[in-house]
């Protein structure tokens, strides 16, 4: 069973002659345990694809299915519940909350999902540990470097049991060694059964994926074939 499936998905912004088609007729099915990388020039529709897959945006036509549920059939409340519980996001502009410390930012998704504060903190410290930032847990976003903020955002996407992780340029501000560590972290999550969709400009990071999908002008231009052993 695919964890996420996009069937003939098109996303158009605006109407008439000024309409911009960000994504056009895209078909993509991602299996449990699969790490898929999306590459393509700026404006080719990568963020749009990620937002649609995570239910943050709705297609103009076509269907997005997450774990056998057509997202279009859900009420706003049900959709919000799926997003909170199962999906982790790393946004291109990290969206950390400046008035919360690193650990509080990471706790947030768990608390929103109803975890008690102590439990949420415990899970958040675990996630911060995974990205090597446990020692900076009580600093505020403006008191840490850009690369460290990026790792806090990744910890927030990974905290708790996320079955689907969507990451938009998660390695943007990282040196190549730290970037490799982030990818190996995402890789480990996949090997443990999670599904990860990652947007990157860097071939070296995309190469960690089972499958690399190339977008151009809103369409899938090509994709590498996943190795047989890793297809589940």
């Amino acid at each position: 069973m695919s964890v996420v499936r996009l069937a003939d998905v098109t996303r158009t912004h605006g109407e008439g002659p000024a309409a911009v088609t960000a994504l056009s007729g895209v078909n993509l099915a991602i299996e449990a345990g699969e790490l898929v990388a999306v590459m393509g020039p700026s404006g080719s529709g990568k963020s749009t694809l990620l937002n649609l897959a995570g239910g943050l945006d709705t297609p103009t036509s076509g269907t997005v299915t997450v774990e056998d549920t057509d997202l279009a059939t859900l009420t706003a409340k049900e959709l919000a519940a799926i997003r909170r519980r199962h999906v982790g996001y790393v946004f291109q502009e990290l969206n950390l909350i400046p008035s919360l410390s690193a650990v509080e930012n990471v706790m947030l998704p768990r608390e929103l999902d109803g975890d008690r504060s102590a439990r949420a903190r415990e899970l958040a410290m675990e996630a911060l540990g995974e990205v090597g930032l446990a020692h900076l847990a009580d600093r505020f976003p403006e008191e840490i470097s850009g690369g460290q903020r990026q790792r806090v955002a990744i910890a927030r996407a990974l905290v708790g049991e996320r079955r689907l992780v969507l990451a938009d340029e998660p390695t943007g501000a990282l040196d190549s060694h730290t970037g490799d560590e982030i990818l190996s972290l995402l890789r480990a999550r996949c090997d443990a059964g999670a599904t990860v969709l990652v947007v990157t400009h860097e071939p070296r990071y995309a190469a960690w994926a089972d499958r690399v999908v190339f977008l151009r002008d809103g369409e899938v231009a090509d994709a590498t074939v996943p190795p047989a052993v890793n297809v589940r």
Binding site: P41, P203, R204
Partner: protein
């Protein structure tokens, strides 16, 4: 083997003399691959033997014009649509191929770039898997790293080619 493929690409728009081919080959590929006229004629006579080109009449100065055959056109198309394998790559064949794809009329250069990009990415994925599971020592790891950097550089260069080509097309349209 890309001298003969390069010559086919140069012959595809119209027939050429051997000496013209040599000048145009170097003009397309820069100094990457200097050819001497002897290599051009040897290659042309082998291509004639293989049915890829056919010679015209000798003119009064004893020069012969060559034209591409149907088989030659098919062979050129096959070359452009096949990615260069990382393993048995004669140095710079990809560079020659791209230069020729831009020079010859009617080649879908974007397609050539994308075909190569996917093949190179598959190589990069394989190397990354090998690195992840490498039990060997530092030497083995560094050899893998070297190959990863090479494949990565090639990928970046392909991105760059695509961006330059897109900018040129946009410029031509406006």
């Amino acid at each position: 083997m890309s001298i003969r493929h390069g010559l086919l690409a140069l012959l595809s728009p119209e027939p050429r003399y051997g000496y013209q081919l040599r000048t145009e080959f170097e003009a397309s590929t820069g100094a990457t691959w200097p050819l001497n006229i002897g290599q051009v004629y040897t290659t042309l006579s082998r291509m004639e033997r293989d049915g890829l080109v056919s010679p015209g009449e000798e003119d009064d100065q004893g020069r012969v014009v060559y034209m591409i055959t149907e088989a030659g056109r098919a062979e050129m198309e096959r070359w452009f649509s096949t990615p260069v394998a990382q393993a048995d790559r004669p140095r710079d064949e990809l560079v020659i191929k791209l230069a020729m794809a831009v020079t010859a009329p009617g080649v879908d250069v974007g397609r050539v770039v994308q075909t190569q990009r996917t093949a190179t990415m598959a190589t990069l994925q394989e190397l990354t898997r090998a690195k992840r599971s490498a039990a060997g020592g530092t030497a083995q790891r560094l050899v893998l790293d070297s190959k990863i950097f090479q494949a990565e550089a090639e990928q970046r260069w392909l991105d760059h080619c695509e961006a330059v080509l897109a900018a040129n097309t946009e410029g031509a349209q406006s």
